[in-house]
Amino acid sequence: MPTSAPYLGKDLVGLEHLTREQILAVLDTAEPFKEISERQIKKVPVLRGKTIVNLFFEPSTRTRISFEFAEKRLSADTVNVAASGSSVVKGETLVDTARNLEAMRIDMVVIRHGSSGAARFLAERIPSNVINAGDGRHEHPTQGLLDMLTIRDRLGRIEGLRVCLVGDVLHSRVARSNIWGLTKLGAEVAVCGPPTLMPREIEALGVRVFKRVEEAIEWAEVLNVLRLQLERMQAGYVPSLREYNRVYGVSRERVEAVPRDLLILHPGPMNRGVEIDSDVADGPHSVILNQVTNGVAVRMAVLYLLAGGAPETAEVAKHGE
């Protein structure tokens, strides 16, 4: 049976209900785990004997592989279930899928699902630890955590920083996790994007709203550029990708128009030439690949904490039992 973890509780479904201390515990725990991925032999026995299912109802490359590396480097036994090729396409309900997995006595489930609330739904119904790898437009907590770790790595702090999320906030689970996490850690957070892609009453989450990207860039120290999905254009939220790039794209000209160095993040996968121009994405202030590296460490930290580990013993744990 999985242990109920003292630091995060049984599950990680979002950052909304975590405390500042819990978020910092994950970031601090991720620090010692970073080093494992730099070794020749990238494996420690922290989760030996634990079985984990990566249950992906939506296509995902980066997040799924990142979780899988985190799990394998901690010696867990893992199974990947993708929606296509599983019983999901045969009409099995989410709850039946969960119960069947549970009947095989798994310890943890990492779930990616197109419906907001799906991770919580699962967490309330099975005793295994559940980790949300993205549910609809709700949250993507490990992405929020790795974004914060990356910002802290580079700038040394989160508190007091001005961070702006740029783009399709309406459909973005990354935006919501960033907003919860960053505001809890004391950052000033703003959002910027076309008003058609801005959720109602977003200000009530404690963020300021910029309608023009130039104003956002003028204000911010960190830009987290959100992916614009092609189907948003088809659904009519923006007239064309070209216009989107013209009005909201994070371009070199816009970034260089301010005298400060802007830290540039992007959760990936990028649409180069749409929400972000290549010379920004590949430029000196981009930490987009650092985010990917940190993703593995953060996910190790989450797995470790949910399995009952304590932040202060992470350093010891990775060297043995």
Binding site: E16, T93, L94, V95, H113, S115, S116, G117, A118, R120, F121, D135, G136, R137, H138, E139, R173, R176, P199, R200, E201, I202, A204, L205
Partner: protein, 444 residues
């Protein structure tokens, strides 16, 4: 014919007659025979003491989904009409969005006959406005009325085409029946699953803005004014909607409107935690809307309370929020919720509540009942306004349990339901069913 019944010593509340006094009520021959002080019990009469209880004209719910035919795993006409009795309702209007929809005289006849056979509350069929609820051409409205339809609606798939709505409002004028509309502009609702606002933003759920309902209410009111047709607006949930109806009534538009107990009591905060039992259409709105529909109910802008009883099987609601169907059951909680929140909350008196659950719904759809005036139908509800109880969905007579009110402590519940002069439901504290009756005992 059944034995006469004398209800002795109850508080008789009949707003249609302006009556609110401790009196006896004698029911005989399927009608109300007499009301008075210390009535003599005729020979063979069954005498029931209803001391401390309220005796009122049978409650009427203008908006229920009985799911038959096609959705018998959720509810049947039999179980739904029995659930109605347990909630104190003597009559319900069954929505036509079944599978297949009730869109021809034979289907109307089926629902009516099944209602008679069931021996529950009276079941008044509603017919579809358009064939197959496809929103393209009118159903055989005249023939369906002959078969027993009391009104027409494409509830569940509201009439999107304004011209069709105009034709419906015009054509029904020949018969004096209402066209009832679930007001929702599909393009604005955009596949949403809850109210659009801070809660939907937090939960990452697609929101349905108030405007999706408001533009349709505005359209319908304008068309009712244009045609002089008889319009009934279903489950109004928005403040602008209330304001527009109020203004239309002042202009003399022939419109009535209903509001549900859940829209009077809950806000979209009830959805938090992805509670699929609070997923309903129109969605639970914000506090300002709740305040506005309450005000509208008090001042008469909203004529009556209807439950929009919408049963769903438990495993259909056991799903991710956006995958779960809309709707909640209301027949067995409606009276208790309204007594607790509206009467207990000081918003309405008991006679004012009874008017909104009996006389006014009857008047809105031209149904018999709604009063205890001598000679009227012997449909009577007896309720205890002060009995405390806790909603336990497992005890519902409905086939379904999808309520957001489970575990809620209520004050006031139905004790006895009489249809056509026959006691067809009694809450004896043991939750047992009262003996049923045959079709002959109350055939209209």
């Amino acid at each position: 014919m059944s034995r006469p019944i004398l209800l002795r010593g109850g508080r008789v509340v009949d707003p249609a007659q302006g009556l609110d006094a401790v009196l006896d009520v004698l029911l005989a021959g399927g009608v109300v025979a007499r009301i008075g002080h210390q009535l003599e019990a005729p020979e063979g009469c069954e005498v029931r003491s209803v001391d401390g209880l309220v005796v009122c004209p049978g409650l009427i719910d203008l908006h229920v989904h009985l799911r038959e035919p096609g959705g018998e795993h959720k509810e049947t006409i039999a179980t739904g009409s029995k659930a109605a009795l347990a909630g104190g309702f003597t009559a319900v209007c069954a929505m036509p969005n079944t599978d297949p929809p009730v869109d021809d005289p034979a289907s109307v006849g089926y629902v009516r006959a099944a209602g008679l056979r069931a021996g529950g509350a009276r079941v008044y069929p509603m017919g579809a406005v358009s064939v197959g609820q496809q929103g393209e051409r009118l159903t055989e409205i005249g023939e369906m009325i002959e078969a027993g339809a009391v009104g027409f609606t494409d509830d569940g798939r509201p009439v999107a085409d304004a011209e069709l709505m105009r034709l419906a409002l015009e054509y029904t004028k020949a018969f004096g029946v209402p066209v009832a509309d679930h007001c929702e502009d599909h393009s604005l609702a955009r596949g949403g699953c809850m109210n659009e606002g801070l809660v939907s933003t937090r939960l990452g759920l697609v929101g349905i803005p108030n405007a999706a309902e408001d533009v349709m209410i505005a359209r319908d009111l304008l068309l009712a004014e244009l045609t002089g047709g008889r319009l009934h607006l279903q489950h109004v949930s928005t403040r602008r909607g209330v304001a527009m109806i109020r203004e239309a009534k002042e202009r003399g538009v022939d419109v009535t409107a209903e509001v549900t107990p859940h829209h009077l009591v809950l806000t979209d905060a009830a959805v938090d935690g992805y509670n699929t039992n609070a997923k309903v259409n129109p969605p639970l709105r914000g506090p300002e809307d709740v305040a506005a529909v309450r005000e509208g109910l008090v001042d008469g802008t909203l004529d009556c309370i209807a439950s929009d009883h919408a049963p769903h099987h438990y495993d259909e609601k056991e799903a991710a929020f956006d995958d779960a169907p809309f709707g909640l059951v209301g027949l067995e909680t409606s009276l208790g919720i309204c007594l607790t929140e509206l009467v207990g909350g000081g918003l309405l008196t008991i006679p004012e509540l009874v008017a909104r659950m009996s006389h006014r719904p009857a008047a809105a759809f031209g149904l018999p009942g709604g009063t205890l005036a001598p000679g009227s139908l012997a449909d009577v509800t007896v309720f205890d306004p002060s009995e405390e109880w806790v909603v336990d969905p497992a005890r519902f007579r409905s086939k379904s349990r999808n309520t957001p009110f489970g575990g809620r402590r209520l004050r006031g519940r139905a004790k006895m339901t009489i249809v056509g002069g026959v006691v067809v439901y009694e809450d004896d504290g043991r939750r047992g069913d009262a003996p049923g009756r045959t079709e002959a005992t109350y055939a209209r």
